[in-house]
């Protein structure tokens, strides 16, 4: 039908609507763009035993001459360093691997939870969502420390396994990859469950009846109807988890072993131990560029979904 057609008359923007866009734009400029430019600048500098610990520093008092010296002082040395030492590449790959694997685990754990909440009676849903968010009321660091207690050799987990007779000797949990995955899945679960719940809760249940009516058994209807309709939630949840997990520092540092270096830890070491601000900044900029890829893909998918509408 023509009235549902694609073309809408061009709208004249009023001052009010421009102002509405301006506020978040200014916010992003002040708290994202400017800090990013500073980090980018530092990544192009060189280390120096000085205050701040890098060169060159823009000297505005020196005027045009100062600015030219400043530009001439910038170099790509830190990035060359990233490329030359395999430690950095290994950390990046390790981070992406852990992020990808744990995002998949989160999806496997989070989907049934979100599905269960979405199918629960209305009044119970509010309570269940509250329970999912509740751990956030405790500080993140404290919750991770609690996991150290649970996972250590004489911790709760081993006590339980021994009591149940599942193992004879206490197992080593702490300082292993398993501990990292446990910590990440535990910490990021709400970020997966909430978007999934939002998309599953919106789904019209008569669609499943319609599928059954058309000869589709319920388990098949789940794959043919429920999963495709919850895809926006899956993508949102996966991105909300994948991106911060890739840059995670606290969990691998506290729960993981010394042999596992995620990029967050590498960055930390460069910044605080080696006091190499330019390389640390380069690590951060490169991480941002890597994470930009899934974000751009997501944007692209969203635009397509919007055009479809």
């Amino acid at each position: 039908m023509s009235e549902t057609g694609q073309q809408r008359p061009p709208q004249r923007r009023s001052w009010g609507s421009r102002l509405v866009v301006l506020v978040p734009a200014l916010w992003l400029a002040a708290f994202f763009l400017v800090p990013f430019l500073i980090v980018l600048k530092i990544s192009l500098s060189q280390t120096a035993i000085a205050q701040p610990p890098y060169l060159p520093v823009l000297d505005l008092a020196a005027g045009w001459q100062g600015f030219r010296e400043f530009i001439a002082g910038l170099s790509l040395e830190s990035y060359a360093m990233l490329a030359s030492d395999s430690l950095y590449l290994a950390s990046y790959l390790r981070s992406l691997e852990i992020a990808a694997l744990s995002t998949m685990m989160l999806l496997l754990v989070g989907y049934p939870i979100a599905y269960g909440i979405a199918r629960a009676p209305r009044r119970a849903q509010t309570v269940l969502v509250m329970l999912i968010v509740l751990p956030f009321l405790t500080a993140f660091l404290i919750r991770i420390y609690a996991w150290i207690n649970i996972l250590q050799r004489d911790g709760l987990l081993n006590d339980m396994l021994l009591a149940l007779g599942l193992v004879r000797e206490p197992l080593t949990w702490l300082s292993t990859d398993t501990a990292i995955y446990i910590g990440i899945v535990y910490s990021y679960l709400p970020f997966m469950v909430l978007p999934l719940y939002a998309s599953l809760e919106r789904m019209d249940e008569t669609l499943l009846e319609a599928a059954a009516d058309l000869g589709c058994p319920w388990w098949k209807a789940f794959w043919l109807v429920t999963v495709p309709l919850s895809l926006p939630g899956v993508i949102a949840g996966a991105l909300l988890c994948f991106i911060p997990i890739a840059g995670e520092f606290v969990i691998p540092d506290l729960l993981g072993g010394s042999d596992t270096l995620m990029i967050g830890q590498t960055l930390w070491t460069e910044f605080f131990a080696n006091k190499d601000w330019p390389v640390a900044s380069a690590v951060a900029v490169a991480l941002l560029l890597i994470l930009l890829v899934p974000i751009v893909i997501y944007q692209h998918l969203q635009m397509r979904a919007l055009e479809d509408r």
Partner: protein
């Protein structure tokens, strides 16, 4: 339609020659046997029995909450009966899950899959049968032609108007070639004009396909236009199952008479009954006559039902009330375009309505508010109701 005055006559349905329910040898396609469905302790369907025949267009009509949709969902398999049996082709289908029943439903909300195109929606049920792709494509084309949606194959449901969506839902369910096609308030979401057109399309479709249709509706006009028979439901029970004209002309209770169309009800007691008809003495005075015979003792309290359009109104006042004749004063006139409804307060205190077709352009009505008038009707127009 012919009335022989016995009260047992069968009046024609939508199709004059189609009446398997009058044939005692005919085997019903769908049979509800004392089916009850309770949600908690509240019965939605209360020990209901009903036979529906192959090729029939059956309407379940009733106010909201009467259990008509539950009855449909029981047949589709979304609900299990608490009691009783549902037979399809003589087989109890209690243990057949919905996806194995040769029954398809068109949902009130249409329940189109938003992530699939029109073609994808129609193909959904066919793919479950594992049909070859060529046949699925052929069936999609056939169905979309049937509902006049050619060229819309690649549209998504949200790109369609309400009427188009309704037709996709129709095509999707009919593509399965069901033994019984269930329609849950199929026209409720359409606007009035579209609804009227679609009614005729539905009867056309049913005629063309020869399938058994069961429609659920709360709109009596809709049920009357499309159905061969109508089952009127109230509180989980069938109050009357009849052809549309029988339902209107020979309702079996005050409730049905009042639910289907407009009616005047006059209380009275049977004074005499016999082959010449029944005479009733009005409780508020006056004598009433009906052409039919009733099988109740003399003196029983009954109600005479008269449809407003069967009541004649005249300006002159007769000197005395006669059989089926009453004098009164016009209270108020409702002009509805095609007809005018006269509300008359009779001298005995009752209020009656008379509907008069406006055959000429009325510049000035011959009868006005406050005028003295007389109302009368033929004995054949009276229906004696005992409950």
């Amino acid at each position: 339609m012919a009335r022989d005055g016995t009260g047992n006559e069968t009046l024609g349905g939508a199709r004059a020659s189609f009446a398997p329910w009058t044939d005692p040898a005919a085997r019903p396609l769908v049979r509800f046997e004392a089916v009850a469905k309770r949600f908690g302790v509240v019965p939605a369907v209360d020990r209901l029995s009903l036979d529906i025949y192959e090729g029939e267009f059956f309407a379940l009509l009733g106010p909201s909450g009467c259990g008509k949709t539950t009855l449909l969902r029981l047949l589709a398999g979304f609900e299990r009966p608490s009691e009783g049996r549902i037979l399809l082709d003589g087989q109890d289908i209690a243990d057949v899950p919905p996806h194995h029943r040769p029954v398809n439903m068109m949902f009130q909300s249409y329940a189109l899959f938003p992530h699939l195109t029109v073609a994808g929606n129609v193909a959904f049920g066919l793919k479950q049968e594992g049909l070859p792709k060529a046949e699925i494509d052929a069936r999609i084309a056939e169905m979309l032609a049937l509902v006049k949606l050619e060229g819309f194959e690649q549209r998504k449901p949200h790109q369609l108007s309400g009427g188009q969506r309704q037709r996709v839902a129709l095509a999707r369910a009919l593509a399965k070639r069901p033994r019984v096609f269930l329609l849950d308030e199929p026209l409720a979401a359409l606007d009035r004009k579209l609804r009227e057109d679609t009614r005729f399309e539905l009867t056309d479709l049913q005629d063309k396909l020869g399938l058994t249709f069961i429609i659920v509706t709360h709109d009596q006009e809709e049920a009357m236009t499309v159905a061969d028979r109508i089952g009127v439901m109230s509180r989980g029970q069938l109050v009357q199952v009849s052809t549309p004209s029988e339902l209107y002309e020979q309702p079996n209770s005050r409730w049905v008479a009042d639910f289907i169309g407009d009616v005047n009800l006059i209380e009275g007691r049977v004074a005499s009954t016999g082959p010449q008809g029944t005479e009733i003495k009005g409780e508020a005075g006056g004598r009433l006559r009906a052409a039919q015979t009733v099988d109740v003792p003399l003196g029983t309290l009954v109600w005479v039902a008269v449809r407003p359009e069967k009541v004649s109104i005249a300006a002159e006042t007769p000197s005395m009330t006669t059989e089926n004749g009453f004098a009164g004063t016009v209270l108020d006139i409702g002009y509805l375009g095609g007809v005018s409804i006269y509300k008359v307060k009779l001298d005995n205190g009752l209020i009656m309505k008379a509907a008069v077709a406006n055959r000429t352009r009325l510049v000035e009505r011959p009868i006005g508010s406050g005028d003295r008038v007389s109302l009368s009707w033929e004995p054949t127009a009276s229906v004696v109701l005992t409950r």
